[in-house]
Each structure stands twice: as structure tokens, then as C-alpha cells.
Symmetry: C2
Subunit: 447 residues, 2 copies
């Protein structure tokens, strides 16, 4: 049978080769002290105020299950770069370290660790490619979708993106991230079942064309699916609206909504709303789609266009304005000593950390402080243990909790940070101790 | 165990809901005449001259295996939109139609069908989401990678993109597309095994930092991996090059290449080349990486920078400049009659088609003509049957053949179309018969 995705067992080989060659080099030199690795991004994409951390708890659970089955180890051996004793070591691999993450659905800002690993360096190194790939996708999608949901101002947003997302896994797993972001439904049938979001959809232009007669197509469809959404822009949008009205009156069909997928969506929606209302059909909703992103949604909302929902696909699914995030996975401590690379413009702060989120008296977000892990602050500590001694200490993340968390945090953003364009960066500072430790470490490095 | 991707059996549910509701509506009305669906794009992303068709033959093979296993049909039933008799029909589904595609690795241009389905309309409709998702990803990646390979002017290009690609499937299956595009190796271990491309990689900065002493890190790594590539930009790039030279002389280590991942890559490579050559080490190659795309590669090549290879990740893997293609899957004929939607600026041409590629006397590409399927022309007909009566008539596509085809076609592009910015669109025209048929169909539609 033609392969679509790899065997579950092969997850261990979905990694960059150098993770494995470095692991063998550490192993060979018996260099396996405890290390801290930190996953964070340094800059936000243009026009963005925040990212929505997503996938990191799920990925931590994957790590706790990571094994190198014999069949996969045998495939590695084919590369002729690995010694039999190291391959034996891999065959017995299980993660024994600690992973701390911020909760899924948390707003995160530059330099804030989304996830930290404390483990023998070989183990921590081996996780890099998997964690980065896994967290990049869901954080990317949740961050974009959160903006679309926010722009829609309470109107439902539906995911129509499957056909333009990067493969079947992205279209499927993306729906988990979309649910966290507050998306109301998805056209993706399997994802709707697996991630418990309503499956939604209407009809395509091809259906109307194949039937040939638009009125007949509406009639048959609404009889089969009472309360359905009818697509009205195949030929002449307003003429089609009149057909819908005629059918409701003459044939008694039940129509839940009409969908407009092309043309001047705002003007057509207004005109359609007027005709429907004049016909006494104010219960029929209007859904629009077609090349929408957060900017277009916001403009339609601002213009007072009478939309009851938005179907959003390509722009949200391929994250056209920022199709990757700037995540890095950096060694910050080894054998109890701070480590960092001195790259101009790319500061790394040493050691294990905590992020403290501060709220003002009215509950609004007032700024974050990144401290060493042992520094105490008032405020909400964001990083907490998900995996200890290689085993989960928290259950698999609950998308509903994550969605509620995101919704609450988004509502608590100061006004200057709430729109689509940030007016000022969200205040994030490093503690004095971390600044001092970084200076001292760099000074030692320069000696 | 934590799910990573769906069961193979669930492929049938990885579709937009409306494909299934439309299918039931056709089925209910016994509207199941033969239809033609055509998959094509209308516009290229800015700055692009061509797309590289990829994934369409593989997808056609998937279609021939598509089934609705009982367990999946039961999940569909939970949606309470489908009648038991239709669900029974789905349980017995197999594709019985014909799929024609252009060969993988073919250069394609706006309006040219990449794939055409001829099947009873229910079947053709049910394939839409799967075909679009599947072909979008590989064509997107092959098209981008082809530009990078071309810009590198014969120097090897390595895929380092796993961490920023959209999920594990994209990072894995993308390597199949990269191989077609002419990429020389990949850091992705599993994909290198599954798609038979060399696995490549060096070391990360974290390794040097963990060891603490750069010279010691180089020494140990090169002893373990004779002929390896050493990463020289963790602290001071040229000082690190001197350490490499010293180690070769004093310790006799074997070094295949050095990699520079940050800073002014061109200037550093030139300076490093000079030091290596002066030390008599002209056999040590120089590989660069870090934020590269086709433009940066082309500039380094034009500047005469002494690179022996490029590692390319984020930009190629997330296709930052054009993260989706404008593919459409359109009904063009139903029951032997031409069908099309009259959308301003979005012309569709009716019926089943052929694309004829013309070469001039010197073998250069001279323009394409899109004709009806029954029109004969001199020239190379691009669309050929892959699936007949639901079964493959061609073997699974061979990436080597596809790569050779692409390489040959890219070499045959007229000079004006060969650079990174097109000076004129490649000439594609519709036959007189198609133009006439379209006019007549639109006129009938307007009656």
C-alpha cells in the first residue's frame, strides 16, 4: 500500500542527523552531565504582538514515550556512522529528565522559554528537532488563528484551510491548534472527530454547475439538509439570493444561512441582508469566505457588514504573512555551569528560568519578568513541570482549558496591544541576577 | 500512546465535509453522470516563472487505493447528516475512473492541467480535498527548491529545514519533492532512508558549548568521524579556522569541510578559503548555511564566494515568499456537456484537455498550447493516463526520472525565463477550438 506517513515506530528517526552524531560523540567521550536546553523565540513576525504557545505540552508527552525500536536502529546502522555499542545504547533509550512548559494557550513574548528540558546532555540534544518541528507548527497556527478570531469580534470563524495547508498532518493537527485559538468549526471531517470541533461545510460551486440549474440545486440540497447553508455566488449573487427567498416562500425549504465566496463581500452581504430582511427572513444568516485573513475580517466588521460568520482557509492555514516562527533550542547550562554562544544581536541568557506574569489591579497584563529558576516573585509563574523523571506528572493538555486561558489572556491585553498592529512591545525584562550572570559568563568566555 | 498522525485507514475522512454532503446529494438524486475535473493554478506567485509539478502521480496512486473502512464509516455516521444507504454505498466505494497527469518533475504554467479526473461525478467530487492538499505541498516545495538548486549553479544544496517545516509529514514527504528538485542531501534521517537521499549533517553550536573548549570539540569530533564537517562560527570564525588548520597539522585529523552558519558568509568564506589554501589544505571544502534562500545563494555565487555547498532550511521549507499555490479543482464537463463558472478574472475552459509542449530547433522550450483532448498537434503531449478503470497503468513515480525531467526542462528554459525574476511569461495559449467552446458555453449560460 502506498505510504502516506511513516510508521509510529519511526518517530525516533524523524530528526536531524547531527542530533544523533553529536549524541554518539557525547556518549563516546562519556560527556553526559546534566544540561538545560531552552526553547524560545527572539523576535515576533512583523505586525504581531504575541504568539500563542501551543503543542509544547503534547510534545512533552511524546518525548516521554520516545523509543528506538530495533527495526529503526537497524536502519540507522545502514548509515555506517554509528558504533554497535552506541546503537545498543539507543535501543535502550528512554527519556529520564524533566520538562517544564508554559500551559498551552499562553500568550508568549520574545525570549520567554516556552519549554525547558533538564536532562543528561545526550538526551536533551536528541529531542531538539522533534520539539522544534512539533511546537513550531501548532504555535504558528494558533498564533495566526487567534488574530482572526479576535478580529471577528465574537462572530464564529470556521477553518476551511485543508486544501492549502502543508500536507495532511498539518491540516489535521492544525485543528487542535485552531480549537485552542477559538475557532468554532472546521471543514476537516477527521480532525473534527479527533479534536472534537463541529464539522462544518456547505456546498461547492461545482455542485451547482453539475446540477445545471441553480434553483433546482438549492431545492434539492435544502430538502436533503434542512437548515443548510446555500452557496449563492456561482453566477449572480443577488439573483441567487432572490431564488433562495422564492424557494423558502414557495417550497417551504429550511435555509440556515447563505454563503458568499467572491466579489465585494461587504457590499454583497449588505444587499443580501436587506433582501432577506425585506422578505421577512431575518433568521437566515450570512457567511462569507474567499481569501479572508485577519485584516479583511477586521475591515468587514468595522464597516458594519452584516456577517454572521467567516470561513477562513488559505491565509490562516499557510500563515501567509509569517510561515515560520523564529524558535531556537539553546543549551544554557551544562554540568551546573552557565553556557551560551556569543552571537551579536542574538542574546541567550544562561541557566534554567522562570517567567513571572504580572497583572495590574484591574486584572490586565502588566508585563513579564524572566528570572533564574530559583528567584521568587509575586505574580504568576508560567513554567511548570510536565514531565519528571521521564514520566508525565500532568495529564495530556486539555484544549478547552487552553482555549479558556488564551481567551482570558487576550482579553487582558492592554488596548495598545490588542489591535492587529502593535503600538508598543509588551514589556518583558530579565531579572538583575540573570543580567549579571550573563555578563559574568560572557566575561569568562572572553578570557 | 499519544497520537502523532491518523491511522492509514482514516485517509478517507481527511476531506472537507462538503465533499461528502455533496456526494450524498448527487447519490440521492441519482445524479452520477461522468464528469471531468481539472486541477490547475491560474497565477504564479510573484517573481516565479514556473512551478514544478510534484505529487500528482503519487496522489493518483493513493486514489486507486482509497476505501471507506467500516470503522471510519461509523465515525461519519456520528455526524447525523448521512443516510444509512449512502453510508453503505461509501463502505463499498472504490474509484473506477481515469486519472491523467503530467509527469512529476514537469515545469507547469498557469491554466495547464496538472491532473484531470474523468469519473462519475460523485467519485470525482470526493477526491477534491485530498488531491489538492497532497499536490499543493509537494509542488510548492519542489518549485521553491528548484529555484535554490538553480541559483546554486551546480554546487550541492542540502535540506536543513525539518525544524521549521509544517509538521513531521511535511518535513518527511517534502524530501521526496526535494529529491525531484535536485537537492543533494537532507539532514532528515528517516526521510533520507525512505526517499533514498544521502543523510547529511555536521554539529551544532551546542556541542561546542557543552564541550567548552572549541579545539577539543573539533579534535574529538573529527577523530570519531574522519572527513566530517566542523562548525566554525560558535565564537570567532577565523580563529576557529586556524584551530582546524592547527589540528590537521599537529594531530593529523581528517576534515572534509568547515561550515559557516552566521556573519557575512561571503567575506568569511573568502577569508577562510585563503587561510586553508595558504596552509595547503585546499581539499577542505566550505559549506555555508543560515537564513539562505535562492536570492542569497545567487548573490554568493555571483560574488565568487568560494562555497562548495549550501545548507538551506527555513526559507525553502516554509516557502516563505509563497507558502501556498493557487490550485483550483474545477468541474469542466458533466454528462458530456461543458460546464464552467462565470467568474470575472477567473476563466475556466470546458472539457478534458491536453497540453502540448513545443521545442524549437535547438531543443529550447518554445511555448505550450492547451487543446481539447481530441485535438492533435505536433509537440510533446504532457498529460497521460496514470489510472484507468480505477487501477494504476503506470508504476509509482520514480523520483530519479522526475529529477532528470526537471533538470532537462529547466536547462531548456529560454534565458529570459531562467533567472530568478521572469522577464516575460512563458507563452501558453488555448487552442481556437477551446476558445470557441468557452465562448459558446458562456453564451448558453447567459441565456
Amino acid at each position: 500500500m502506498t505510504a502516506i506517513w511513516p510508521d509510529r515506530d519511526a518517530l525516533c528517526l524523524l530528526t536531524d542527523l547531527y542530533e544523533l552524531t553529536m549524541a554518539q560523540a557525547y556518549w563516546r567521550q562519556q560527556r553526559n552531565d546534566e544540561a538545560i536546553f531552552s526553547l524560545f523565540f527572539r523576535v515576533l513576525p512583523e505586525q504581531r504582538q504575541y504568539a500563542v504557545a501551543c503543542g509544547q505540552e503534547y510534545a512533552a508527552h511524546l518525548v516521554s514515550e520516545l523509543r528506538f525500536p530495533a527495526e529503526q536502529v537497524a536502519r540507522l546502522a545502514e548509515l555506517k556512522q554509528f558504533q554497535p555499542e552506541f546503537l545498543d545504547w539507543l535501543a535502550g533509550f528512554r527519556f529520564t529528565g524533566e520538562i517544564r512548559t508554559v500551559p498551552e494557550g499562553t500568550l508568549v513574548f520574545p525570549h520567554e522559554p516556552v519549554l525547558e528540558v533538564r536532562a543528561p546532555v545526550i538526551q536533551g540534544q536528541l529531542l531538539e528537532s522533534l520539539l522544534m518541528n512539533y511546537i513550531n507548527l501548532e504555535t504558528l497556527l494558533a498564533s495566526k488563528a487567534s488574530r482572526v478570531v479576535d478580529a471577528a469580534g465574537g462572530r464564529p470563524v470556521m477553518d476551511f484551510g485543508m486544501r492549502r495547508m502543508h500536507g495532511l498532518e498539518a491540516a489535521w493537527r492544525g485543528v487542535r491548534a485552531y480549537r485552542v485559538a477559538g475557532i468554532s468549526g472546521t471543514s476537516n471531517v477527521l480532525a473534527s472527530r479527533d479534536f472534537d470541533l463541529p464539522a462544518q461545510g456547505t456546498m461547492a460551486h461545482s455542485y451547482i454547475q453539475a446540477v445545471g440549474d441553480e434553483r433546482q440545486a438549492f431545492l434539492e440540497y435544502a430538502r436533503l439538509y434542512p437548515g443548510t447553508t446555500l452557496l449563492v455566488d456561482t453566477y449572480d449573487t443577488l439573483a441567487a439570493v432572490d431564488k433562495v427567498i422564492g424557494l423558502v416562500r414557495e417550497e417551504g425549504i429550511e435555509v440556515g444561512a447563505i454563503r458568499i465566496d467572491s466579489g465585494d463581500l461587504g457590499a454583497l452581504a449588505k444587499a443580501a441582508r436587506r433582501r432577506l430582511d425585506d422578505a421577512g427572513l431575518s433568521g437566515i444568516r450570512i457567511v462569507v469566505s474567499g481569501g479572508l485573513d485577519e485584516w479583511k475580517v477586521a475591515k468587514l466588521v468595522a464597516d458594519g457588514a452584516p456577517m454572521d460568520g467567516f470561513g477562513v482557509g488559505t491565509e490562516m492555514g499557510s500563515v501567509a504573512d509569517a510561515p515560520s516562527l523564529d524558535f531556537a533550542y539553546k543549551l544554557t547550562e551544562y554540568g551546573g555551569e552557565p553556557r551560551l554562544k556569543n552571537a551579536p544581536g542574538k542574546p541567550v541568557y544562561p541557566g534554567a528560568k522562570q517567567v513571572w506574569r504580572h497583572h495590574d489591579a484591574s486584572g490586565m497584563l502588566a508585563g513579564d519578568e524572566i528570572t533564574g529558576i530559583d528567584e521568587a516573585r509575586d505574580g504568576e509563574p508560567l513554567l511548570r513541570e510536565v514531565i519528571r523523571d521521564g514520566r508525565p506528572v500532568l495529564p495530556s493538555p486539555d484544549p478547552d482549558q487552553a482555549r479558556e486561558r488564551l481567551s482570558r489572556e487576550r482579553q487582558s491585553l492592554p488596548t495598545a496591544l490588542r489591535g492587529l498592529t502593535p503600538h508598543a512591545p509588551y514589556p518583558v525584562r530579565f531579572s538583575e541576577s540573570l543580567e549579571t550572570l550573563r555578563r559574568d559568563t560572557l566575561a569568562r568566555l572572553a578570557e
